[in-house]
Symmetry: C2
Subunit: 145 residues, 2 copies
DNA sequence: AACATATACTTGATAGCTCAAGCATACATC
DNA sequence: GATGTATGCTTGAGCTATCAAGTATATGTT
């Protein structure tokens, strides 16, 4: 990489690792959920009422509202989520994590954790923590702009 | 994120930041090259003869051979790269960085560096370096499997 | 109250990739 | 040297997400 700017180098590494990671995720998860579906289930579960507006979900997982609409259709069909409405605003169609979705998420999380241990087996916890914090810092910065 | 496994957390942050980054890249680069095109030009330039086999290029940028084939077609049309063959093996169609491509890369790199400075302005160099090294380490580990 | 503007979502068209299959060449083995 | 298998690349079909435009509701302005 000789004279390449450090920042650029970091961003290139980021892209590379992420590309490798998501492929490995899809392979490792087998016939279960895809990465985007996993993200939806995950963030839904994180929210206190397990219920979110489509647009907030989109922002969380880094996708357009349109993308979320298309993802949710089949997910609702197979009973992973349910759609509803909220009282305060008739424009929003809320997304609710259903029982099936919760189960699927638990399965996926379990396999995901094994995958993680596998990948990080020889990396020090402190290092991962530091890198993770850096990512959050960068992510926040970018989001604000 | 309460009780979520640290590794999982890292991988989620990775995905999020990468998604934000590539969008920001495409926005910031304006009507210039897209991210994948940039990667092609960049890695071509990095190779000593500025010439690579399509398949090595594919592996570098984390894409299938098929994807590379489709990307290169328009890039050759507008004079960013040239296709050739190598003496040792008649199956390969080599990719050569052309003058136009080199110019485009220089422009993109310049803008990319500014983007990088903007994003990392308040992050310590040591931290970036550490995170970057961690990414390389993970990337290598994954590639071997 | 009327109107302009913003927000939440959906939908048609399309971009950018993958996967599976195919073709051509290379390499290994018998 | 014929035959089987691996490699490099391309191509058709299909998937996933985007963008631009459209609909419905909300909010702010006069």
């Amino acid at each position: 990489m000789n004279t390449i700017n450090l920042n650029v180098k970091f961003l290139l590494n980021l892209a590379r690792v992420q590309s490798i990671m998501s492929k490995r995720f899809d392979r490792g998860m087998g016939n279960g959920v895809g990465f985007s579906e996993f993200l939806i289930l995950f963030y839904l579960n994180q929210s206190d009422s397990q219920k979110m507006r489509r647009i907030d979900l989109a922002e969380k997982i880094g996708m357009t509202a349109s993308g979320v609409t298309r993802m949710l259709l089949p997910m609702e069909k197979i009973g992973l989520i349910k759609s509803g409405s909220i009282d305060e605003d008739a424009r929003v169609r809320s997304v609710l994590l259903s029982e099936g979705g919760k189960q699927k998420l638990d399965e996926a999380l379990e396999r995901f954790e094994i995958l993680g241990e596998d990948i990080f087996s020889s990396v020090k916890i402190k290092e991962i923590e530091a890198a993770s914090n850096l990512l959050v810092e960068i992510g926040g910065k970018i989001l604000m702009s």
